[in-house]
């Protein structure tokens, strides 16, 4: 029962600072105009880092029961199934959208 962790100001402000820096970084990288696959990859990696910071420290997952982290991961796993199996169709059609 570790649902009552009290975060210190230092942690909270530190995380917020890191989020601020990452936001500025991702906008900065945007203006570098990286070659095609890399810009989205970098943007997504930064977004995942930011999302994880919020989930782990603001949402207390670090101190919380592991089951709640598992729930969050399960949600992304099933989102992945939805996307993955749909792409199995949409990426492999002979014609993107059959003309009507």
């Amino acid at each position: 029962m570790s649902g009552h962790h009290i975060s210190t100001d230092k942690t909270l402000l530190g995380v917020a600072g890191a989020l601020l820096i990452l936001t500025i970084a991702t906008v900065g990288v945007h203006y570098l105009h990286l070659p095609n696959p890399w810009s989205i990859i970098v943007a997504m990696i930064v977004a995942i880092m930011k999302g994880s910071l919020v989930a782990v420290f603001f949402m207390n997952l670090y101190w919380d029961t592991k089951f709640n982290s598992m729930l969050l991961l399960a949600a992304f796993l099933f989102f992945g199934l939805l996307v993955g199996l749909t792409l199995l169709d949409t990426l492999f059609r002979p014609e993107v959208i059959p003309s009507f």
Partner: protein
């Protein structure tokens, strides 16, 4: 029952025997219409759900009978083609969204899940009441759509037809959207209840299989239903704002709608059937007086079905124009569903083996389930094979297949559960002879209705057609006669169950001799379920142990709940019986 002196967490328990004819129970501790409408008692909410789904079952059933009557002759019999389209659409939508999805989880599950966990209520009682009112609101919105034009899209609301046709599709999709939230909140509630509200000693390996199946169902509900909600919202947007996500004229893709829709609606099939599996496990073990065979196999196969159910939705789309790669993968994955389902069937059969079987009406319904669900499941494998599906897609073969699963499987299991738990819910026994006769009538009527549909489907009779060629007329007529027999059977059940409320003889607390926890309280349970905090030392299927070991509770109100799971339980004053 070892008494461990050294154990610091020793707790005192004593035996509490249920009263056979309690003066006070959940129906008379609070009375009046207002207390019913504002109740947070899971049992009353369960009964309100039961009344609502029964009502919608008969509404949907009457529509089915009208459809079948119309099909008596190849051309028009007595209703217009457009009315016919609306009738089969509404039959499907009402039966699925207003009856099948909430039937076992929301009605029987609400009533019995907390009792099986030894809890006073579900984790969020007010949310539970809210789910019920959301369900009612959604149902009212659906009725509004019926009177303001109706819908003729089929229950699947396929685009682009659903985004262009007339009628009240927007209102209907909004109604289903709202009902979806009822389902989501019930799922959230049940998962939390199973995790956090278990009685002391009720570890995961002592959880009843009905609770396990509700757990698996709730997982599907929370993961799949939100996708349906957003999909139907998109259809609504399509109609209101012309958003174009599913409209090929604007660069959208109608097949994407089918992906999203079936991402919910295929797992939804398991939302309907998995709680039925839970009932089968409970009834089988009670009436063969034997420990369930393969407890973990049955429990985990429910979870396996819940998971695999998310991987197979594309088998509804073999002829939709999806990529052949996806078709092959989905076909392969579809066959995997047969494995956990087969595990369950074999374990149930093995439970019956050498049991001391009492063929009471709940078990009779389960035997009906076995035969019908087996046929439904095996024809599903047929439809999962690509080459056969291209021939059988959208024929009566499909209609017969899912009615064998949904009615032959799910409704039979629901009826078994209803007959099994009726004495506990109402405190009265129904007429056993009539129950057995009704079970026979339903079994016969069902087969007469749907077996001919397999034949005409494989000969090419398409589903949802108003007219048909004369060669199919005899099949259609047999099927229509069967549907009347089936309808008579359901009316008969309704008659004797309602009659038993008023004139049935009083039920004892445990008429079947079950070891499960819900049978260790009074028949008509008290308002807060248990007058004591139950302590669980044995599993719910330990028929080899004496009954008094299943009636234990904390001797004094110890301030401890599931965190005493690890503690050794010692029974003091075993001779002393309930001192309530």
């Amino acid at each position: 029952m070892a008494t461990a002196e050294a154990n610091p967490k020793k707790i005192q328990v004593q035996r509490y025997e249920p009263e056979s004819d309690p003066d006070k129970h959940y129906l008379n501790e609070e009375t009046g219409l207002w207390t019913w409408l504002t109740t947070v008692d899971h049992k009353k909410i369960g009964l309100m759900y039961l009344a609502s789904i029964t009502f919608f079952f008969f509404v949907g059933g009457i529509m089915a009978l009208l459809v079948r009557t119309e099909l008596w002759t190849p051309a028009k019999t007595f209703i217009e083609a457009n009315t016919y389209n609306q009738l089969f659409t509404l039959h499907g939508a009402i039966m699925i969204f207003l009856f099948l999805v909430p039937s076992v989880p929301a009605a029987l599950g609400n009533f019995f899940l907390p009792l099986q966990l030894g809890a006073k209520d579900v984790a969020f009682p007010r949310l539970n009441l809210l789910s019920y009112y959301i369900y009612v609101a959604g149902a009212v919105i659906s009725i509004v759509s019926i009177v303001s034009g109706g819908i003729d899209t089929g229950w699947t609301f396929y685009t682009p037809y659903s985004s262009t046709t007339g009628g009240a599709v927007t209102i209907m999709t909004f109604g289903v959207f709202v009902i979806g939230f009822s389902s989501i909140l019930t799922g959230v509630n049940f998962i939390t209840t199973i995790h956090k509200m278990r009685a002391p000693g009720l570890t995961w390996d002592k959880l009843s299989l009905f609770s396990w199946s509700l757990y698996a169902t709730s997982i599907i509900q929370i993961l799949a239903t939100p996708v349906l909600a957003i999909t139907l919202a998109l259809v609504g947007m399509e109609r209101i704002l012309g958003i174009g996500i599913f409209d090929p004229a604007m660069g959208g893709d109608p097949v994407l709608y089918q992906h999203f829709f079936w991402f919910y609606s295929h797992p939804a099939v398991y939302i309907m059937i998995v709680p039925g599996f839970g009932i089968v496990s409970e009834v089988i073990t009670t009436f063969s007086k034997k420990h369930i065979f393969g407890y973990w196999a049955i429990a985990l196969s429910s979870l396996a079905i819940a998971f695999i159910g998310f991987l197979v939705w594309g088998h509804h789309m073999f002829v939709s124009g999806q990529a052949s790669l996806a078709t092959m993968v989905f076909s392969f994955l579809t066959f995997l569903v047969g494995i956990p389902t087969g595990i369950k069937m074999f374990n149930w059969t093995a439970t019956l083996y050498k049991g001391s079987i009492k063929l009471a009406s709940p078990l009779l319904y389960i035997f009906g389930f076995f035969f019908l669900f087996l046929v439904g499941g095996l024809t599903g494998i047929v439809l999962g094979s690509i080459a056969l599906d291209v021939h059988l897609h959208d024929t009566y073969y499909v209609v017969a297949h899912f009615h064998f699963v949904m009615v032959g499987g799910m409704v039979m299991a629901f009826l078994a559960g209803l007959h099994y738990w009726w004495p506990k819910m109402i405190g009265r026994m129904y007429n056993e002879t009539m129950a057995k006769i009704a079970c026979g009538i339903i079994f016969i009527g069902f087969n007469v209705t749907f077996l001919p549909q397999f034949v005409m489907g494989s000969q090419g009779m398409p589903r949802r057609y108003f007219n048909y060629i004369e060669q199919f007329q005899s099949f259609h007529q047999i099927s229509t006669i069967g549907s009347y027999i089936l309808g008579f059977g359901f009316v008969m059940i309704f008659y004797y169950l309602v009659k038993s409320i008023f004139t049935g003889e009083k039920a004892s607390p445990n008429p079947w001799g079950s070891r499960a926890l819900e049978w260790q309280v009074n028949s008509r349970p008290p308002l807060h379920n248990f007058h004591h905090t139950p302590v669980i030392v044995n599993g719910p299927y330990d028929y080899h142990k004496p009954m008094d070991e299943f009636q234990l509770g904390l001797a004094e109100n110890h301030n401890a709940h599931s965190d005493v799971n690890g503690a050794e339980v010692s029974v003091s004053n075993e001779e002393e019986t309930s001192a309530e």
